[in-house]
């Protein structure tokens, strides 16, 4: 007889914050009720196989982190930004664009009619069965942001969303964003996940994008939380005709890092480009699960993920491409390359292709390797120090992806974090 599965602790099913329109409160309640018998993932849960052992939620972490008090150490970023502290927007730290055709509203500021409309659309980009923790976010969010781009709206500079958790006590945060991109609208949205404080905390975030015909959205996601932060995040995207979605996910490891990215190409001629870089060290973990659904014909997807694992860390990549029967002339490319910097590090990679149309181009490749000894010898034979040679070659592995990040301030942040990573990863070289 199978032992009864461990369920999500009921302590996690008590949302805080009641300052939301009635339809959203009702949705939250409904989702919470559906999670009463949610089993916690184990190593037998297929999509958590390599990561379940890192998920260690305690009841102390179930309480929502307080939203008053210090406003945190949000990065000094230029231009438009919205700062979330512990899942709640801090208007005083934020700077909204003042444009008629771009509307940014907190969940709490929505009218009941607007909230009802949002309820219809929340979670529509994510398959709740496949991404259970997205449902937990919906059951727990206390605040959130709806970003509506009217047709042809374009923001002249990136919009930064800073998600900070202040971990002065154990607890959790549930930031939520919904982007509704109208016809031919354009936006670059940068999400930065950071933390302060030392106590064990849980971040459960969800960001959704719906792209109407011709919309062009770039999403940069930087995961830089501390060693005390377990983070399960999901990004869901639906794309209509001829829309374009570009994603740059850069992740630094932690005790538990999980990101599910799901893109549905629903309209003819839509295209997506998904880039990902993950670096892990010490005993850190990072798990990227991506799914691209080619639903409509003539869509292109291009996915390039690179993992670098040092010390005794563990990176996971699972990339699924699903080509539906009607999606003829689909063009899908997926590449995942992995670099192990130590014999104690582990990387698990699994490309999955499901193809139900017969006229498609679909390519995938995955490799795992170490730094090339011949290349190292070539560099040091020119007087370059071993440490620097290691750094050059490791950077070379991800350089192409880092340079493609279209926002300079983000590239600088990434470079600075990578320098810290190299200092430690190659300290004994």
């Amino acid at each position: 007889m199978k032992p009864a599965p461990t369920l999500l602790s009921p302590a996690f099913l008590h949302p805080a914050g009641q300052a939301l329109p009635e339809p959203l409160l009702a949705l939250r309640k409904q989702r919470g009720a559906a999670l009463v018998d949610m089993p916690m993932p184990t190593r037998k849960t297929e999509n958590w196989k390599y990561s379940s052992k890192y998920l260690k939620l305690t009841d102390e972490m179930a309480t929502s982190l307080p939203t008053t008090g210090k406003t945190g150490s949000a990065l000094a970023v230029p231009g438009y930004k919205v700062v979330f502290i512990n899942g709640v927007v801090m208007p005083e730290a934020s700077e909204y664009p003042d444009l008629d055709n771009i509307r940014i509203q907190r969940f709490g500021d929505l009218s009941d009619a607007e909230a009802s409309d949002l309820v219809e659309r929340l979670d529509s980009t994510l398959d709740a069965k496949a991404v259970q923790f997205a449902g937990l976010n919906t059951a727990r969010f206390e605040d959130g942001l709806v970003i509506r781009l009217k047709p042809d709206a374009a923001l002249d500079q990136p919009l930064f969303i800073i998600h900070e958790v202040t971990a002065d006590a154990s607890g959790s945060a549930f930031p939520r964003i919904f982007v509704d991109a109208g016809r031919n609208s354009q936006l670059t949205l940068v999400e930065e996940y950071i933390s302060s404080g030392e106590e064990a905390v849980f971040v459960n975030s969800v960001t959704e994008f719906t792209l109407a015909e011709g919309a062009n959205i770039t999403n940069i996601r930087l995961s830089m939380g501390g060693e005390n932060v377990q983070h399960i995040g999901a990004t869901g995207v639906t794309q209509q005709r001829s829309s374009r979605f570009e994603s740059h996910c850069v992740g630094f490891g932690g005790p538990l890092r999980r990101h599910d990215l799901r893109v549905r190409l629903e309209g003819k001629g839509a295209e997506c480009k998904l880039n990902g870089v993950v670096v892990t060290q010490d005993t850190q973990h990072y798990d990227n699960h991506t799914t691209i659904e080619h639903v409509a014909p003539n869509c292109d997807s291009e996915e390039t993920y690179r993992n670098i694992a040092a010390d005794k860390s563990h990176a996971v990549f699972n990339g699924r491409i699903h080509i539906h029967p009607d999606a003829q002339k689909s063009n899908a490319n997926m590449s995942n390359k992995n670099l192990l910097l130590s014999t104690g590090a582990e990387i698990d990679t699994k490309p999955e292709l499901e193809i139900y149309a017969d006229d498609v181009k679909c390519a995938h490749g995955a490799t795992i390797g170490q730094l090339n000894e011949e290349s190292l010898f070539y560099l040091v034979s020119r007087g370059i120090g071993r440490r620097e040679a290691n750094v050059l070659l490791t950077m070379a592995f991800i350089n192409e992806l880092v340079t493609q990040i279209p926002v300079e301030a983000v590239r600088d942040t990434v470079q600075a974090r990578l320098s810290q990573f190299f200092d430690q990863a190659f300290q004994e070289v």
Binding site: S375, Y378, S381, R382, G383, I384, L392, M395, A396, I398
Partner: protein, 257 residues
């Protein structure tokens, strides 16, 4: 400058160098010739410090210092330069970044200040012209997608940038057409200097028409079996390696063609 005494080296337990003795003085150009498998490339790699090769006995000193106990990068900073027979392609690291890091590592070692990007660029453009490489190459990945000839010219370009004390050229002529051979030879001849030694390793003597050596050594089965002046190379050209009692499949095959 360089003194090699009774050098033995092996790779994966197989002895390749079986007692090499060689003295090279500053200002001299030495050529080491020999059939494939004689140990020419092994000697180059051992001098540069490739730890895939194990030195089992003997000594190598450069300017009185024990070369063998130094790391590869220390040897390079002390002035040892190896032009690789098969230069490595490193996508993701630009030639510019690579060479600038290298030049500055050397300068740092000598207690000099680093070259800034503009100074470096000026120097790199000049030297790239000297070896007839389009400066656009500087922006590409190290040797990435280079033809065989371009790779060899890139090696000589690096030698010219780094101005080593001892330049070891491993089969620098292989894979070059006659024009490229001329360019590479001119580059090597530009390196000739009173305070610099050059050690050329080659299978054929045609390179020696362009870069005239002071001494020629014949390497066979891990030992130098004959040394002489330039005329020794010409004699090898005429008579092949067989007159020295050396088996050389490739020369024999070429003669047959």
């Amino acid at each position: 400058m360089l003194s090699i005494k009774n050098l033995h080296a092996s790779v994966e337990g197989k002895e390749i160098l079986k007692g090499i003795n060689l003295e090279i003085k500053a200002g001299e150009v030495h050529a080491i010739m020999g059939p494939n498998g004689s140990g020419k490339s092994t000697l180059s790699q051992v001098l540069a410090g490739n730890d895939a090769f194990e030195v089992t006995s003997g000594s190598v000193t450069m300017n009185g210092e024990n070369l063998l106990e130094k790391e590869t990068e220390e040897r390079a900073r002390d002035g040892v330069f190896l032009a690789f027979q098969y230069p490595v392609e490193i996508p993701g690291v630009s030639n510019l970044q690579f060479m600038r890091t290298s030049v500055n590592a050397m300068r740092h070692h000598r207690g000099e200040s680093e070259m800034n990007a503009a100074e470096f660029m000026k120097l790199a453009r000049e030297v790239s012209k000297q070896v007839d490489l389009d400066p656009a190459f500087l922006k590409r990945g190290v040797n990435e997608g280079f033809s065989g000839g371009e790779k060899k010219r890139n090696e000589i370009m690096q030698a010219l940038m780094l101005q080593p004390k001892l330049a070891i050229l491993d089969e620098t002529d292989s894979g070059l057409d006659i024009d490229a051979l001329k360019v590479v030879s001119d580059g090597v001849n530009a390196l000739r200097a009173e305070d610099r030694a050059i050690l050329m390793v080659t299978h054929y003597q045609r390179l020696l028409d362009h870069i005239v050596p002071d001494f020629v050594h014949v390497l066979a089965d891990g030992k130098i079996v004959k040394s002489g002046g330039r005329e020794l190379a010409l004699e090898l050209e005429d008579r092949g390696y067989a007159w020295l009692g050396i088996k050389d499949d490739e020369t024999a095959a070429n003669s047959a063609n």
